[in-house]
Subunit: 166 residues, 2 copies
DNA sequence: CGAGCCTGGTTGCATTTTGCAAGCTGGGTC
DNA sequence: GACCCAGCTTGCAAAATGCAACCAGGCTCG
């Protein structure tokens, strides 16, 4: 029984998880986006077995999130640099970091703090609506079928979104 | 060899993934946050085997993301309702949805579109700095050691953040 | 010029997790 | 009484994962 694929769901979340959802994958992206780009470096910081890391890096290259580049001959050394698609993973990591800080925090407090380079201050990024500019609070997001919705999804009414709760 | 735990990394991302990172877990949260809360309902929409779903729901209840509630006797039926911690998972799903729309979109376009309930318009949520209110662009986030940083993390200089790329 | 070290992996095999089918309990219902 | 439904649990077979060991190319030091 091959692992069931996620991507038969016509869902962007499932599509994203099909690539990013594997064990270790997002931690590898964390390291790359923090600037650690060499095999041994990533391996040390993530604590992953070398065969797994090898597999994940190859997969990320295949899917176009990373590019493998020789940055030195004699000795031959490689680095994995993020592409646009790879850099776009950052908001996912930010969201996970914020959830972790809020609900799985180490007793001593957050190990890492985000700084907004443009203004120089600590930044808890927040979601805002591109249309009205307002902060998007709990329960203020709905989901409606988009252009790519299939028949079943089109039949769904306006649903409480991922953010809406009780 | 037991599966290696993530949570020895003193990292909120790893801590979050230790709970949310399992196969199917985030898809289950997607369904619950979309309002589908009965076992069979979730199962049908996610397409997961019942033993796995049972395991994930139990785990999410144990970690305080969901609450199992009897909503009918005769016949006895249960629903899984998200707690505050569960509802806070929504931004992670939003980030994944946006990444999926951008980089793993079905040919016909996004299957689901987010609507900002407060203003009634479609909303591509964006990250903004809580301090200066500015949109946080590529490369505009840095990471610094926080109060809970361990020795190794404290030794790290100001790093390019998850969002910074090349 | 050989020993030892670094980088960047691959290979082999045991363990864990996942997947599907089948069954099971406690009810309702025709 | 026969049959259906919800909400699971149990029993294997197939993947994925984990660790140790190894390997190859190249440098470097004595």
């Amino acid at each position: 029984m091959p692992y069931r694929a996620f991507d038969d769901q016509n869902c962007s979340i499932a599509g994203a998880l099909a690539i990013l959802g594997g064990r270790w994958t997002l931690l590898v992206m964390r390291e790359v986006l923090l600037g650690r780009r060499r095999f041994a470096d990533i391996r040390r910081h993530v604590g992953v077995a070398p065969n797994i890391l090898s597999d994940r890096l190859q997969m990320l290259v295949d899917h176009g999130l990373l590019q493998r580049r020789r940055y030195s001959e004699h000795p031959e050394s490689f680095e994995y640099v993020p592409t646009r698609a790879g850099r776009d993973v950052a908001p996912v990591l930010v969201a996970l970091l914020e959830w972790g800080d809020a609900h799985a925090a180490p007793p001593a407090g957050p190990p890492r703090v985000l700084v907004h380079a443009a203004c120089g201050h600590d930044a808890h990024p927040e979601l805002r609506c591109t249309h009205c500019g307002g902060v998007i609070d709990h329960g203020e997001l709905l989901v409606r079928p988009g252009p790519g919705a299939d028949e079943r999804q089109r039949a769904e009414p306006l649903l409480p979104s991922p953010r809406a709760g009780a």
